[in-house]
Symmetry: C2
Subunit: 336 residues, 2 copies
């Protein structure tokens, strides 16, 4: 690492995040499970396969159109479990509160955690609460960790990705990130955007009902679709090609992206997933996704190609092809 | 709750913490496991009994004599698992970093996490890293969650406590809290105190080898011995009586307590445990504890009595008896 101090960009989900995690954070603990750097760690006991994951949530502002930090904290961890093919079982919830934080806001946040947990049919069974002095935190930070159970015939990971596989996205990209950013910048009345933040475990269950050939799942949170596709391509080996015109994108998100100067491919999502699936089963899987409340706008947006290895290409509307890079720089801090 | 805002005292481990947790935080999620409010939640799958726990660490300062926030974050969660009688298996580690935090400090903290994890023989298999702007956090906060496995013949909980049981403490009280506080107040050169922060899972394993009649275990962290004994007494029903002179207390801790005006019974510990055990087996268990590196100063300090129900009495050195109350007020913020 060239830097001597933590930069905001270290938390953005892009290039610098990857460097910090790989070179500094994972190194001391290097072990076969952690080093896979998946959304969930997977371990087995007595023939049972468990998924285990954690996320801290520091979104700003804590209330935004379509959700709040509490809903996000439940959905984010439920989705990390679901993306490993696990049925989410239990969550922990750990709060860091700033002295002076309004109890009424805390109650609202806890209530939306309760509601999201009910939607996901997951139980919060353990927790912790800490308080720090005024100005030692920013209102509230929430950590959730989760445990899920993976059926023995489910094997979902970047290492299952094969050349020829189809790439599916389950809905509109950019809604969450642009809604949070609009609220932060005081533009939400103009954009009218809402976060899509939702638990996706029932969507995944439905997908697994119709096909066993779902090779890889990922929720494109920090760094957006661009970061996730680049990570998957790098981890699995082959390249990917995406047709820009197939990627579901709301007019409002497009407009807000232009006002704010932000690439919607780099914006965090909290209510959609990327699925990489066997090409023969892709149509059937998309149809199943569209039947659920979370996937009405699902599309096949591209496929896995042999070359260029570990890279993502974007076929643009005007017929050209460019590289869709891993996001660099600060992108959007504190979007989740 | 009478208050409308979060106070520092809500995080102190005393009376207000209990109120906040019971009335505000647990209420929305009420379920049979969470409502037990134990150090670890316990759940079963296919005949296997698992423990699951989480803690966020916000200690100030982050480096103190005998440890740092990283060592604390591993030991705290390992100990919460061990206190439920579980063999700790896996940990998660989630960091919230303040922009500008020195990378060198982060590396030091991660290295002491690695070292503590090695001591405890536990593996960190998943994690998360977030960055917030300058002054939106205080350097670094760490959350760890942990999973452990409980053998089927082990049943450790406050509900196992019986009248007549002996109360054991495994070592000197107050070392951790007084060391952190001395460092914070710039007095560490005078007190020479060191935190006792250590993983206690091997101590518990040793205890379970010599006796199956260990009824309850608890590590007296926030709120110290006073908070833990009061909680256990309230949860289990009967009262407790403690002989003040039997409680292991270093002269230096006593002296520092007097300088700082703090009751060592209310100070957080991170390297000792309280065990409530069958009276017939107590001597054997204490002898086993003393043979380990973590328990040389172990003592039987009191016993469980039928009356007064749910209360803790302290037999003082001069022959009197007073109530050892649940701590109230701010006590010591950010000691873990």
């Amino acid at each position: 690492m060239e830097e001597k101090h933590i930069l905001l960009a270290h938390g953005s989900g892009g290039q610098l995040t990857r460097e910090l995690i790989e070179k500094v954070i994972v190194e001391p603990f290097r072990n076969p499970i952690l080093s896979l750097l998946q959304d969930s760690a997977i371990f087995s006991r007595e023939g049972l396969k468990f998924a285990f994951t954690t996320d801290s949530f520091v979104v700003k502002p804590i209330f935004f159109p379509g959700g709040d930090i509490g809903r996000l904290a439940i959905c984010g961890t439920v989705n990390d479990l679901a993306m490993s093919g696990a049925v989410p079982l239990y969550l922990s919830s750990s709060l860091i509160l700033e002295e002076g934080f309004p109890l009424g806001d805390l109650e609202k946040i806890l209530d939306s955690m309760r509601q999201a947990a009910e939607e996901a049919e997951i139980t919060v069974i353990t927790g912790d609460t800490k308080v720090v002095e005024k100005e030692s935190a920013d209102g509230i930070f929430i950590n959730t960790a989760g445990i899920g159970l993976i059926k023995n015939d489910v094997e979902i990971s970047p290492f299952q990705i094969r050349v020829g596989d189809k790439i599916i996205v389950s809905g509109y990209i950019g809604d969450h990130g642009m809604a949070v950013l609009s609220e932060r910048e005081g533009l939400s009345f103009r954009t009218g955007l809402k976060s899509d933040c939702a638990p996706l475990n029932k969507l995944v269950a439905k997908m697994l009902q119709v096909s066993k050939k779902i090779h890889c799942l990922r929720d494109p949170t920090r760094g957006g679709l661009a970061a996730v596709l680049n990570e998957l391509s790098r981890q699995s080996g082959p390249g990917m090609i995406i047709e820009e015109e197939k990627v579901p994108l709301r007019e409002e998100v497009k407009a807000a992206s232009e006002i704010l100067g932000i690439d919607p491919f780099q914006v965090a999502n909290e209510g959609i997933l990327v699925a990489i699936v066997d090409s023969q089963e892709a149509e059937k899987i998309v149809a199943a996704i569209r039947e659920t409340p979370w996937g009405k706008a699902a599309e096949i947006i591209g496929e896995v190609i042999p070359y260029p290895e570990g890279m993502v290409l974007l076929k643009t509307g005007v017929g050209g092809t460019r590289i869709l890079d891993m996001p660099a720089g600060e992108i959007l801090p504190r979007i989740c």
